[in-house]
Symmetry: C2
Subunit: 568 residues, 2 copies
């Protein structure tokens, strides 16, 4: 039986690191050569890293990426290598009116040259994507390429998400196999959505489908890899691991005979391997939900730290579950010797909180210091005394404590160079239950897109092999400990209710009326929606953090700060 | 001679305030009725406010805006009223894949009903604009409307910026007059660009052109109004004021005779006014550069404060020119009784700085307090002492002073409710010469998009009618006063050089090589470019501020934080 040996390099690249990315690509090409692949797939925009955002509007950036492509092509041997890059649509990267003049493209390289270029036809411009800002759409969805006698259709990411998109056109035009290169970001549930969509595309086309995805973190996005190969009946031949680099290959069985008279560009005219195809490796099992989210958080953090040139991180430990989970993720992602925990007790911190933080740090094996905030807090009260006079103690004084802590963490960062991790979760950030320049301080927010209920699930899951996060941290009622006896539920609905409202409002764009109709309390819904709307200004100044839901509080949710809309 | 009496309501609307906007629109309609206008133009998306961003993806928002449109239409009498709103393209506001299903539209209302709807054809999706994210493009550029026997083409904003866009199609199809409703944001030089573009469009079409623009601030954008009317020879008939609301009307002379057999939708079939047209009022003169920028800053700030429900603002006065200009703008925008200046001397503040701040506050007539930072600063040093040990004094201690100040301002804000104004300028923010959570603290940054050289120009211009900003503040060498004898030029090139490099790099996207070729010092260019790139993370946490240049450090410049690209 004829088969095509297709290799996939599910690798972790860095935006703007054209030289580093190029070196990784050349390594992958050498490996594909060794295993005698017919084709090697690399991710979408592998040369530049993805997404490069406004860098692609710079002419110098586009030039550097095309020069790199030609250096890579010069190294191409017998393996047809499909790599993502930015191609010029003519002239400079953008015209005088600001319109982009480049394509999101895939080059097919062979024997030292670029044998063909495909331009992405469908440009996503919703959610986190802005590709209409950056790229001109390709106009040849049905282009076909001959690789050692086999006719292949090549497409880029979004192209395959639409039922009658380019892969369907390629199948209709006579393709024997569909090849798809991707930079598809993770969110919880995405792997399953992708798998059923891809199986359906393969089945509809009646063609084998090789889907190669990027892996790694880039600012708020994390790419989960999880590349997949399907038969023409839509059966899964192979699934690569999630959240890790993997070089893999599959001998993809081909349809019994190709069609005659199919128009295509000949890229390579070698012979297919003879003999029987090797059976594919066992598909990597999908992670369970908690493990999946946890790995996403770890990879997002590790890559943000590494790619931005940091080595160490700092976490303020309050004794609460958010900071405990943040520190645990950090230790798992970076190693205990790179994480510094600091607890900063104030006038209303409980003894138990300091002890819980100490226990956590000891379980994790990380550096731990106690720096009380009494002196700076007293200093602020003294400085402000004359002006504030005898006003009642309240939010001002609570925020002073939070800001004294934030300032201390930043001082340690300034002195020692570690990146401060913000510890707020998505539930808090959504309703603004956090202090700007206080606990919101930090370069990266590990839990920024994690609802409080998921924080609990992750903590329990992480403890399942042995207690790391103290049980008392998980079990005690959540409190900011900024005034005596304070509890989160003084200001917010219980978290299960809060999270249900937030999911419906933030992710689902449901109206309050619709949310109440789901069975949630009318007053709670009104209060939460008002808090979410009122606190857009705070979120704008929040640290970035890994996106793990379909709609994070980042560029997939672009609301005006100035906004008087009150939905009933 | 036949003429059409066209009225324009250059009004200040608020995003999301559908009820308030509707009331303003109805007022304008009553006025247009009184002056016997044939047509009244209102701004682009007047019903919702502009730009509504992701609000338009919410079904409830679209419904509320359409209900409002019908309430407005019910009030329409003889005057044909053209108003911007969000029209459904069918079904919900967006489909399951996240694609928008609405139009950026203009309704023509008459005698209690909507007599026609035009859908914006050209959707800007570059710079600050994301209209492909929000809207489906209209498909009927050449639609024409009959208003009292006159054939009019209606278009929306971007439609007129392209040479062969909808107004050209409308002219070719037999229009007698072109009507254009807009939400066109300000930047320095924009008024002139618009005027020559519009004159050219009128001339090319050989038709009179009535251009109505929005006025007011919305987050980082400020709309300058400056609506204009042209004859069919491209001569300016009228220009409305910049940065202010204005209701105006012009009797626009019509071409001698219309064409026969022109396809159009009849909206109203009344009679034109008889007799001679009234001569148009004298065009309002364009402001000089400094006045224009200053008015933009005042309007942007005033609207941010008012539309977000604040009354008062707080400014930390350092004795330097940035905080002095910020306070002056605030007083001019809001009134002296709404601005509170606080100077917070630290160990390295000069006596002169405190005195300059006091003098400024006294000239402006604003509340002024002195709150020394010694106590909290000492508190931080004490708290950190054990951990920091005997390390050398440096950036950490400088930032502690800045952060103590930021915390004090936020405490005053928490206690009294005023909005803290950040005082950093564009030059500083570009290179990261500012302390995150320190002097970057604030809800709004008045000078965020103002280069230091323009700060000087504005200060001198504001002083021209009598000294407000002390001469010593303007004349002394810029210093952060965070260590003895510190000067900005210890860390940065002199501002004229810095600003020239920034303009070329930030706004022009020039490569370092190209900037050096302009005659700038190679080392300075390399250093500045590296600082700009390295400090993207700081800008992400910066307060919003009025955009006054063609490319601000906001959503018109979307660079990744994680970015290893080094352009040579």
């Amino acid at each position: 039986m004829d088969f095509l040996r297709v290799a996939g390099a599910q690798i972790n690249l860095t935006v703007g690191d054209i030289e580093g990315n190029t070196a990784r690509i050349i390594d992958a090409m050498a490996w594909a050569d060794e295993i005698q692949a017919d084709v090697l797939l690399l991710p979408e925009l592998a040369i530049t890293g993805y997404p490069p955002e406004d860098l692609v509007l710079r002419d110098g950036f586009v030039t550097a990426n095309i020069e790199a492509l030609h250096r890579v092509a010069a190294r191409a041997g017998e393996v047809v290598t499909v790599v993502g890059f930015v191609d010029r649509a003519g002239g400079r990267a953008r015209d005088d009116a600001g319109h982009a003049r480049v394509h999101n493209a895939a080059a097919l390289m062979h024997r030292g040259r670029v044998g063909g270029v495909y331009h992405k036809v469908l440009l996503p411009n919703y959610g986190v994507f802005d590709e209409d800002r950056y790229f001109v759409a390709g106009a040849e969805p049905g282009l076909l390429w001959e690789i050692n006698g086999v006719v292949a259709g090549v497409s880029v990411c979004e192209d395959i998400w639409v039922e009658d998109g380019p892969p369907a056109a390629q199948a209709a035009a006579g393709a024997d196999i569909l090849l798809s290169i991707n930079g598809s970001p993770y969110h919880l549930g995405r792997a399953g959505e992708r798998e059923s969509m891809l199986a359906e595309r393969a089945r509809a086309a009646g063609l084998p489908l090789f889907y190669l995805n990027l892996v790694g973190g880039q600012d708020e996005l994390v790419f989960d890899g999880c590349s997949m190969v399907f038969t023409g009946s839509g059966d899964l031949l192979y699934r690569a691991g999630q959240f890790e680099e993997e070089m893999f290959w599959v001998d993809v069985p081909l349809p019994a005979e190709g069609r005659e008279g199919v128009e295509r560009v000949v890229v390579s005219s070698g012979d297919l391997l003879e003999g029987d195809p090797e059976p594919p490796p066992e598909p990597v099992a999908l992670l369970e939900e908690e493990a999946e989210v946890y790995r996403a958080l770890c990879l997002g953090l590790a890559d943000y730290v590494r790619k931005n040139g940091f080595t160490d991180v700092l976490v303020g430990l309050s004794g609460g579950i958010d900071s405990a989970l943040t520190a645990t993720v950090a230790v798992d992602a970076l190693g205990a010797d790179r994480v510094w925990g600091v607890t900063m007790p104030g006038p209303f911190s409980s003894e138990g909180s300091v002890e819980d933080s100490r226990t956590l740090a000891s379980s994790l094996g990380m550096r731990f210091d106690v720096i009380p905030i009494e002196a700076p807090y007293a200093g602020f009260l003294e400085a402000l005394g004359r002006v504030l006079g005898d006003t009642e103690t309240g939010v001002t004084e609570e925020n002073l404590q939070a800001r004294a802590r934030g300032t201390i963490l930043m001082a340690l960062s300034n002195k020692h160079g570690g990146l401060v991790l913000a510890t707020g979760n998505k539930s808090e950030l959504s309703v603004g239950y956090s202090t700007l320049y206080g606990d919101m301080v930090g370069g990266y927010g590990v839990l920024k897109d994690v609802y409080k209920e998921m924080v609990y699930r992750l903590a329990r899951w992480r403890n399942s092999g042995g207690e790391v996060i103290p049980a008392s941290t998980i079990d005690k009622p959540p409190s900011a400990e900024l005034r005596p006896g304070q509890l989160d539920t003084d200001s917010l609905p219980p978290y299960p209710i809060l999270d249900a409202i937030l999911e419906a409002y933030v992710e689902g764009d449901r109206t309050p009326k619709e949310i109440v109709a789901q069975g949630l309390d009318r007053e709670a819904v009104a209060a939460v929606v008002a808090m979410v709307d009122r606190n857009e200004y705070k979120r704008r100044q929040a640290a970035p953090g890994v996106r793990i839901t379909p709609k994070a509080l980042g560029r997939d949710r672009r609301l005006p700060i100035t906004n008087r809309f009150l939905q009933s």
